[in-house]
Amino acid sequence: MDNSAEKLNTALEQLRQNPNFNLGIGQAELSSLLKLSASLLVLPKNPVPTPLMNHRYAATKAKSFWFAWEHISRLAAASTAAMLLLSAFAVTGYAAYHSAPGQTLFAVKKSAEKLQMVLAYNQNQKASLQIEITQKRLNEARLILQNPSSNIEQEKAALTELTAQTSTAIEVINTVTANNPKGDNNHPLLSSMETITKQQQTLLKEIKPSGEINEAAGTALVALNKNSAKISEIKQSIAIASNDQTLAKLNSDPDSVAVLGKISAITKTNITVEKTAFAINSQTVIKNAEGKIITPESLKPETKVSVSGKKDGETLVAKDILVINELGTEPEVKSASTTPDIKPFASTTSTSAISEPAKPTTNPNQAQGSYIFEDPNPQFVK
C-alpha cells in the first residue's frame, strides 16, 4: 500500500505541476486513479472575490520606514555629499521608496540603492544587498504585471529592471564565491538566487502573450535561462574549488538552452531558430501570440519565437515554444486546450482512450478540463 501511495503521490504532483502530464503512464490502476484525480482537479470552483491587500502587518512593525535608512545616515555623518543626498531623500524619500519601474521617482530609489551598495562593509554584504534589491524588483514587477491598470511602458520597464538587476546580482555573487569558494555564505546566497529565479520563471509564465509585451517577455525569458545556467556554473565552480560534489548536484541544470530569434527551418519534428536546432516531441508546448496552444504545422519560417529546451543526449529537445511576432495570417488551432488527455472517470477503465489527442472545442476556456482561463479576479489591486 505504501509503495502504491508513494507512486500515486509522485504522479499526482507531476499532474498538478504539468497539465500535459501523460495520464496513461504506469500501471492501469495508477492510470485510472490519476484520471479520477484529473476529474477532481477540474471540478468548477466557486469564484472568490478579489481581496484587498492592506499590508496591515506593516503598522505593527517596530521598524519604521525611516529606520530603514539608518545605514545611510551612519555614513552620511562622515560625508557631506551623502548628507546632502540623504536630505534630498528626506523630501522625496517616502514617495521614492514606494516608486516602481516606469515612474519618475524610481531613479531616486535606484540612487539610494547604489549608495547602499557603496556603504556595504564587505563583498558578502554587497551580495546580500543585491539579493534584497532583486527581490524588490521582483515584487515590483509582480505588482505591475498583475495590475490590470498598468500600462505597457511600466510593464516593459518592470521586466527590463528585473532582468538587469538579476544579472547584476548574479555577477556580484559570482565575484564573492570566486574570491572565497569555501565561504559559509555561498550556499545561502545561491539558494536565494535560485528561489528568486524560480519565482521569476513563474511570473513570466503567468504573462499572457500579447503583441506589445511579447518582445520584453521573450528577452526576459532568455535572460532568465542564461542566469539559471550561470547559477549552475557558479555551483560547479564552488564544488570543484571546495571539492563538494553535493553542492554541484543541487538543482543544477546546465543542459537548459533558450533561444530568441527567427525560425530558419521548421518541420513536424524539428525547429531551427537562428542556428540552433531543437527536436519537437509530444511534450513540447507551442503557444501562439495569444497564448493558445498551436501545432508545429502552424509555425512558419521567419516567425520570431522564444524557445526553451533541454539537452537529451546529443539532441536538443524543445520544451516550450512561444511565438513572439507572427507573420501574416497564421492558421489558428481553435482547439487550443492545454488539457492533458483527461477523460471523465466514466471512461477510466478504457486504456485505449489514454493516448488520444486532446479534442478540439470552439472555446478553450470552456473546454472541459482546460487549465487556461481568464483570471476574473486579478490578485493585486492598487
Partner: protein
C-alpha cells in the same frame, strides 16, 4: 489595458518545496522589510482563499488573513525551518477561523466548529456541474470523514501534502496513504454505481 493571465491548475503554486528559501526566512526573522513583504505577497492570496471558503464573507476573510500575517510575523522566531512555514501559516489561519466562530456563536461546541471547518466547505460550484461531476461529488460524500477532508484540501483547495499534514496534525506519509485509499475507494464506488446502473437498465 485589458490584462489576463495564464495559470496552471494551481495559480500560486510554485514548487512542491516551500516557495520561500531558508535565507528569505532568516531575513524575515530579522525583521527585514523586503523579506516580510515578499512573504506576504507570496502567501496572502492562498491564506485569504483558505479563510474565505470557511467564512464566505469577503471583508471578514480579508481581516482574518491580515491577522494571520500579523500573528505570524510576531512569532516568526518560532518557525523551525522554511519547509514547515506554509503549513504553519495555515494552522494560524485555521485557529483564527475557529476563534471567529467562537466569537460569533458563543455557545457553539468546538466539534461543530471543526466540522464547519472541514466538512462544510462550499468550494465546488454545484450549479455548474455535469452529471458525471455530480456523481463524483456523491461518491466523495460516501468516504470516511478523514478521507473526505484530505481529498477536499488536496483537490479543491490545492494544499500540498505538507500543508495538509500540518493542518490535520499528521505526518506526510499518512496523508499520502489516506489520499491513495480515498481515491481507490472512490474508484470502487464509481464502478459499483456503474454496474448497478447497468443492472437496472437491463431489468
Amino acid at each position: 489595458m485589458t490584462k489576463s493571465f495564464v495559470f496552471n491548475i494551481s495559480p500560486m503554486k510554485l514548487e512542491e518545496n516551500s516557495p520561500i528559501s531558508a535565507f528569505l526566512l532568516e531575513k524575515a526573522k530579522n525583521r527585514d522589510e523586503t523579506a516580510l513583504t515578499e512573504i506576504y505577497g507570496l502567501f496572502f492570496r492562498k491564506i485569504y482563499n483558505f479563510i474565505y471558503y470557511r467564512v464566505s464573507h469577503k471583508e471578514t476573510a480579508e481581516d482574518l488573513a491580515e491577522e494571520v500575517f500579523i500573528k505570524a510575523f510576531a512569532k516568526l522566531s518560532t518557525v523551525k525551518d522554511d519547509k514547515s512555514f506554509e503549513g504553519w501559516l495555515y494552522s494560524i489561519a485555521r485557529n483564527l477561523v475557529i476563534d471567529y466562530y467562537r466569537q460569533k456563536k458563543t455557545t457553539v461546541a468546538l466539534e461543530d466548529v471543526e466540522n464547519t471547518l472541514e466538512y462544510e466547505t462550499n468550494i465546488v460550484d454545484v450549479v455548474n456541474l455535469d452529471q458525471q461531476q455530480k456523481q463524483l461529488l456523491k461518491v466523495l460524500k460516501e468516504l470516511g470523514a478523514e478521507q473526505q477532508v484530505v481529498i477536499k484540501l488536496k483537490f479543491f483547495e490545492d494544499l500540498s501534502n505538507s500543508e495538509i499534514a500540518e493542518l490535520l496534525h499528521k505526518n506526510e506519509g499518512t496523508i499520502r496513504v489516506i489520499q491513495h485509499r480515498a481515491l481507490s475507494k472512490m474508484q470502487e464506488l464509481i464502478k459499483q454505481q456503474q454496474e448497478q446502473e447497468k443492472s437496472d437498465y437491463g431489468q
